[in-house]
Amino acid sequence: MDAQNILVCGIGGQGVVLAGKIISNAAFEKGFDVKTSEVHGMSQRGGSVSTHIKFGDKVFSPLIPGHGADILLSFDIYETLRYAKDFADKKTLIISSNYGKIPLWASTRENDRISLAEISGALKINFDKLLMVNNKETAMSLGNIKVANIILIGLLSKFTDIEEDFWFKVIKDNVPKKTEEINIKAFLAGRNEK
């Protein structure tokens, strides 16, 4: 199998690193060659963060080349905009939360404000395969806002060659025991989304 390239992006502290761990370990459990790359440190502090994940028969570079993502998974719509320009093309499947936030101090110039609707509009014109998900609302309905990103991972799992059981195992290995059930529920909510 040609390497599948998945780029996960969001804001520091949002769980981008954990998502990268779950996806890469699922691919590893399945038996693929896997490489991931991420950056720690300064960028963790509310900065824009991303994790590159590549898996297949043989992987060399841990970095995804420009416009080379097969799937772009984004936890923040502003970051979707930032990373889609560099890593996505018409064939890229973009799975993005429809929610995003910019801290007040970073967006004081009035003319620089971007509405969420503007972003999703521009993304729709440019990218053919775009899934905007109201994952925050689904997470609330499941009873825990913290599982919002697992919902998106569930949705992503449908587009990989990795069977459900591998995902279950890895999620159980990586979340606290007491949140296991709700995380699996959230994963399935994403996976079964039409």
Partner: protein, 625 residues
């Protein structure tokens, strides 16, 4: 931990380069491992501490860390020292002479470089240290090589009587790839693994002054030995099989090392490759053979033309840095561009059909991107450093800064730090700046607790000794926060509890011991006290010290004070609360009559109350449930 097949002798695990280095050191039977936290090296020691039989300790700085490793080696034990690139500068004094004394137990020095400066103040290429000190160097290209070469490095260290450098970069240290590893060399929290096979032999201590006392009379002899050693190491570099040629097309070839090897293999799978995981000393015979057989050869390396210089010093001039940047990281795309410019591969784009184009959509994307805020890293919601920088900004004094999370106090909107150059610079620079008489206002120097222990103590002694006049601020959050919450003397804990007893050192008593009498200890969550204390200290004519005490909100445990705040109706949109840069204060979609957006505080607020103290109109209030 992922072990594919627990019964098989060799299994596979998905590890970062840092984890793989720790596993390799454990396999080699390392007895003492030391270091000071620094991105991207920080995860090696905590991972190693999960094994038994190894003493793993954070030191107060890189110099003491390497000195401890040297002592363990003199005692016949294998030791390892880990650091980020700039940390090796701090340890370079012991390194340069260790290089001529050689070792007893093997010494491995791991330097993790940070090209592109993801979390660093410079992007120096530490491969030059290996040439400078005349010590051999590994440059692994993935986690499996990190594991294997770390083990190998200890063997080479003892065989050739030399410290060995393992030089990684961020993309090696923080990338994960599959490591083929015996399960015994993976830490397992559920079992009590013992690396019995490599239990160090007990040898009685014997002194050897000709080897370890580098007084001129002995040092002159040892330097000659180190030069002789280089020749033997070069032979090893040529013949060990670690450096190797992968023949393919005889028209095109690349000489490469580290992460660049992976990019070359991906971009130019047809090319022959001379891979140099043992890049110093240069395997001159292999290079000569390669350029003889392969028609056109290019050198692909990140940062400086290190390999290129070595190759040109044996009289072979090849293409290289003229096609690749001498700064920043390489990427697969940059390697591709470089190989196209050098005529190695043709310009083609197999994805052109999928390229973004048309319908005016791309320009819409571009114009939105232009407006997209850069999202600079910021201090956390509730960070105890926030109030200090806000007060410093109000007081408009020059602030000599330092390296840690609090360096973010230099960025907007706080804008309250004027320098960040090296660890521990602040108090020395504050003394110097005050001597320059260029500021009518008293100077402040500011650093964190871990930095104070690293190298702030010495400069504070210097300040007292030379009767300097500035205000030294120590932000004590009881952890080394920026690198992920490592312990230091102020916490009284370390990585090997049970094996090593740690003692707690009180910063205030250290400062008193220096003889500084004017010391203020304050709670940074009380903004009014912070402001008044700073104002008082900065108007006194003495060298004085302010210690702010509040634990980091992330480490060792996440803190939520359980209070929430809200912005009341009637807020005039003055934006003052924005000036503290709190990530929990956001723009709402509601606007005032004057078109100013009304801010709101979202659920990520942990209740530090600083915004409430700062709002002069009293529009911020605690939510009473």
């Amino acid at each position: 931990m992922n072990i594919i097949n627990k019964t098989a002798k060799i299994s596979a695990a998905l590890l970062t380069g840092n984890e793989a280095i720790a596993a390799g050191a454990y396999k080699a039977g390392v007895h003492v491992a030391t270091g000071y936290p620094g991105t991207p090296s920080s995860e090696i020691l905590p991972y190693l501490a999960r094994f038994n039989n190894t003493i793993v300790n954070w030191s107060i700085n890189e110099k003491t860390a390497l000195e401890i490793a040297i002592g363990a080696s003199i005692g016949y034990k294998r030791s390892m020292f880990t650091t980020k690139h700039v940390g090796l500068n701090v340890a370079s004094d012991p390194l340069m002479t260790l290089a001529i004394t050689g070792v007893r137990g093997g010494i491995v020095i791991v330097t993790a470089d940070d090209p592109a400066m993801h979390s660093s103040q410079n992007e120096q290429d530490n491969r030059f240290y290996s040439k400078f000190a005349k010590v051999p160097m590994f440059e692994p290209s993935d986690s499996n090589e990190c594991f294997e070469f770390t083990y190998e490095a200890f063997e080479i260290s003892e065989r050739f009587d030399t410290p060995v450098i393992i030089r990684t970069t961020t993309r090696i240290s923080h990338s994960k790839s599959i490591v083929h590893i015996e399960p015994a060399y993976l830490p397992n929290m559920n079992s009590n693994l013992e690396n019995k096979k490599f239990l160090p032999k007990k040898k009685p201590y014997i002194k050897d002054i000709e080897k370890f006392v580098m007084a001129p009379v002995y040092a002159r002899k040892r330097h000659k030995i180190a030069i002789e050693r280089l020749k033997k190491l070069q032979e090893f570099s040529n013949n060990s099989g670690i450096n190797k040629i992968e023949y393919n097309s005889l028209d095109f070839g690349a000489i490469t090392s580290g992460i660049s090897y992976q990019y070359v293999k991906e971009i130019a799978p047809f090319a022959s490759v001379l891979k140099l995981p043992f890049s110093y000393p240069l395997p001159d015979l292999l290079v000569k053979e390669f350029v003889k057989r392969v028609k056109s050869v290019i050198i692909v390396e990140e940062l400086e033309p290190f390999i290129q210089n070595e190759i040109s010093s044996i009289g072979i001039n090849l293409m290289g840095k003229e096609f690749f940047n001498r700064f920043g990281e390489l990427t697969p795309d940059m390697v591709k561009e470089g190989l196209i410019s050098a005529g190695f591969i043709k310009k083609y784009d197999n994805k052109s059909s999928g390229k973004l184009q048309g319908k005016g959509g791309l320009s819409k994307l571009d114009s939105l991107l232009e407006k997209l805020p850069q999202r600079l890293p910021a201090l956390c919601s509730g960070c105890p450093h926030t109030s200090v920088f806000y007060a410093l900004k109000k007081l408009r004094v020059p602030v000599m800064g330092d390296i840690g999370c609090y360096t973010l106090g230099a960025l907007p909107p706080l804008n309250a730090m004027d320098s960040c150059i090296s660890m521990g610079l602040a108090f020395g620079a504050a003394q110097g700046l005050s001597l320059s008489n260029s500021s009518p206002k008293k100077i402040a120097g500011i650093m964190g607790d871990s930095t104070f222990f690293h190298s702030g103590i010495t400069s504070l002694i210097d300040a007292k000794y030379n009767n300097a006049c500035f205000t030294a601020i120590i932000l004590d959050n009881s952890t080394t926060a920026m690198t992920g919450g490592q312990d230091h003397p102020g916490t009284g804990k370390n990585l090997s509890p049970g094996k090593v007893v740690s003692n707690k050192i009180d910063i205030k008593r250290v400062v008193e011991g220096i003889g500084i009498d004017e010391i203020y200890i304050i709670d940074p969550y009380n903004y009014n006290v912070v402001y008044k204390t700073l104002k008082k200290a900065l108007s006194s004519k003495n060298l004085n010290v302010i210690i702010t005490k509040r634990p980091c909100i992330l480490y060792p445990v996440k803190i939520d004070l359980g209070k929430k705040f809200k912005i009341l109706e009637g807020c005039n949109g003055c934006n003052l609360c924005m000036q503290i840069g709190c990530p929990s204060i956001l723009n709402s979609d509601n606007f005032l009559d004057n078109n100013k957006p009304i801010p709101f505080i979202d659920s990520s607020c942990i209740g530090c109350s600083i915004c409430k103290d700062i709002c002069v109109f009293n529009f911020i209030e605690e939510i009473k449930s």
